[in-house]
Amino acid sequence: MTALRVDGLFKVFGRHPDEAMARLRAGATADEIRASGATPAVIDVTLAVEPGEIFVVMGLSGSGKSTLIRTLNGLLEPTAGTVHVGDDEITALSGKGLREVRQRRISMVFQHFALLPHRSVVDNAAYALEVRGIDRRTRLAAATEALEMVGLEGQADKRPDELSGGMQQRVGLARALASEADVLLMDEAFSALDPLIRREMQDQLLELQARLGKTIVFITHDLNEAMRLGDRIAIMRDGRIVRLGTPEQILADPGDEYVERFLADVDRSRVFTASDVMVPAATVLAGSQPAAALEALHAHGSFALAVVDGDGRLVGVVTGADLLAASGNVVAAVRPPAARVAAGTSLAELLAPAGASDAPVAVVDDDGRPCGLVDPRAVLAALAGAGSDGRVSADDRAELLEGSRG
């Protein structure tokens, strides 16, 4: 069951919106409609957000992303189309029914925090519960807990303007969390913060999300932020979603020139991880003969082998060249990997070890068993955005794993 569903959503501002919409459906472009005096902000958007997902909507100013997020909780009424939050059809509700959904199911964090300057931090955090009519003691307890969650212990009695921007936005986040809504809308929530604080807030959001598992729709104009936070990203342009996918999918296949131009600025080293560039490790026992090892190497079409002990734990790595030069058993040729890393390690952290040695980087699981090897050249290829030679499709990978285990 999807947490949030948007179907065929249109929002047209200005005169004669219905007329403009009919023309859009007939295939008119946004520019043509604009010439007639109406402004199409959201054009035929359909998407579904799964529970527990961080869904990022990314676009430049004027792309319609802020309009889109405001239709999700009914702050703006769409010209056509429907929005469902769980079972509730937001677009069919008004007045009390709509307020009820906003009070219980969907909350929001704002770009400029939108705190009440005349109230203390804890009263701000308790706002959602106060609106719902919950008694003071209960709501202050919930607000205090939410403030602790975002790291604002001891600030409860201050006024918002006594806090820095980052702390103010934490209050905004605490206010949204205290409402206990499952769906959290974040409208450029970190865009007004300076870069260091922004990064800190992103980390904190990911940490909270790992703990709370909310469904988050996050609006941003910063693609790096989108890539860092998003489980999936929708890229908007001129009111339409032009690309929708996971960060890796979008990076690997931008789809069109517009998205590609964006991607030029993305820090790929933070999006891709070791698991994206590794090849599944073909293993060889430390006691094997070099000839047998070479055979295994050729059989897998790999550039190196992971050498393991009797328990399957990584001892070291050997490349084809090492094996050819070796005499005796494999142990003589084995050398330490450039680094041992986990599958989730970002490329940024692989750069230094990969550059320091021509040995492969070994990707190991929690028990120290090898699950993949990374060719240093594959790291560079992935950063350059080329379809790297080191990468293998998921099917092949599974096959190879089977092979290496057997």
Partner: protein, 326 residues
């Protein structure tokens, strides 16, 4: 009725004469004929209110009352303001103008109260609806720019001379800034903050009470301040139609060409004006540093905060320029 056009040599004009004056006369005659009981009721109510307030203001001996006002001044603003107020009020008493000053003050207080009770809801309605705003604006323009003495004529027709027409004209004259600044204040409330109210499911009333009015308070209080100042200036003009107070002294001194008396009455008006202005202005501002109110408030927060502040994230420069904290 005299023909006002006579002055302008109307026979040369090619435009037909539009008898605005006659229409107004007819309208007021009709009102007078049909709503006399209403006007009588208004008159009685107003008179009772102003006289009640006057009696209350004159109930305490002047010296004691001046001391109480000075205490109020120290509470809302500062010791300097309190000393200034005390000196000013004692000067009024020593000029033997205490009673007319209190009569004027009572008139101003009642007129201001009524004006605010009308102005704030109208201002809110104008802020919420552009149509209401469009309707109200020309009326306010008329009220503000129509020469003050012109109000006096119909006021006297309806209420004869004395206190009541004075109060009514004062209300009409003082009302507009209350409406205008309330509308402005509410329209200026940060859009995102109001949106936040909606996003958390607040009702329109909760948004008005909890967000718009508190955030618009400084502007609304500036409006209230302006209402009081205008009421005070009109209360003096109302002396011409027999409203009791400092205005009457001014009128008397004009008719007798008594410069000294006129100056004393005028000075008393100025003292009252400054006192009321500073007093009401401080309700719109944040508490002044060193004032008793700010010290009391600080002590209250200091007691509840207690815990040391986490240094992390306390970068002062990271506040956005267009923040919500207005």
């Amino acid at each position: 009725m005299a023909e006002p056009t006579a002055v302008l040599a109307a026979e040369e004009s090619s435009l037909p004469r539009v008898p605005v004056g006659e229409w107004v006369d007819t309208a007021f005659d009709w009102l007078k004929d049909n709503f006399d009981p209403v006007f009588d009721a208004v008159a009685t109510g107003t008179e009772t209110a102003v006289e009640g307030v006057t009696d209350a203001l004159l109930f305490l001996p002047p010296l004691l009352f001046a001391a109480i006002l000075a205490l109020l001044a120290v509470f809302v603003r500062s010791v300097v303001f309190a000393i200034g107020s005390l000196v000013g009020l004692l000067l009024i008493q020593s000029m033997e103008l205490w009673e007319p000053a209190m009569q004027t003050l009572a008139l101003v207080l009642v007129a201001t109260l009524i004006a605010i009770v009308v102005a704030i809801p109208v201002g809110i309605a104008a802020a919420k609806s552009s149509r209401v705003s469009g309707l109200v604006r020309p009326v306010l323009d008329l009220m503000q720019t129509m020469p003050a003495f012109v109000y006096l004529i119909p006021a006297v027709t309806f209420f004869s001379i004395g206190l009541v027409p004075g109060v009514i004209t004062t209300i009409i004259f003082a009302l507009p800034p209350g409406v205008r600044l309330t509308e402005l204040g509410i329209r200026q409330v940060d859009r995102e903050t109001v949106e936040a109210g909606h996003a958390f499911g607040s009702s329109p009333w909760q948004i008005l009470r909890g967000i718009e009015l508190p955030l618009a308070r400084p502007t609304i209080m500036a409006g209230v301040n302006q209402v009081i100042m205008l009421a005070l200036s009109m209360a003096v003009i109302a002396g011409f139609i027999g409203a009791p107070g400092l205005g009457q002294i001014v009128v008397t001194s004009i008719s007798r060409l008594n410069i000294g008396l006129g100056f004393e009455a005028g000075l008393s008006v100025v003292i009252l004006a400054i006192f009321l202005d500073r007093l009401t202005a401080s309700f719109g501002e944040r508490p002044v540093e060193g004032g008793l109110r700010s010290r009391l408030m600080r002590r209250r927060t200091a007691r509840t905060v207690g815990a040391p502040v986490a240094a992390e994230d306390a970068t002062p420069g990271s506040r956005p320029t267009a923040g919500a904290g207005v």
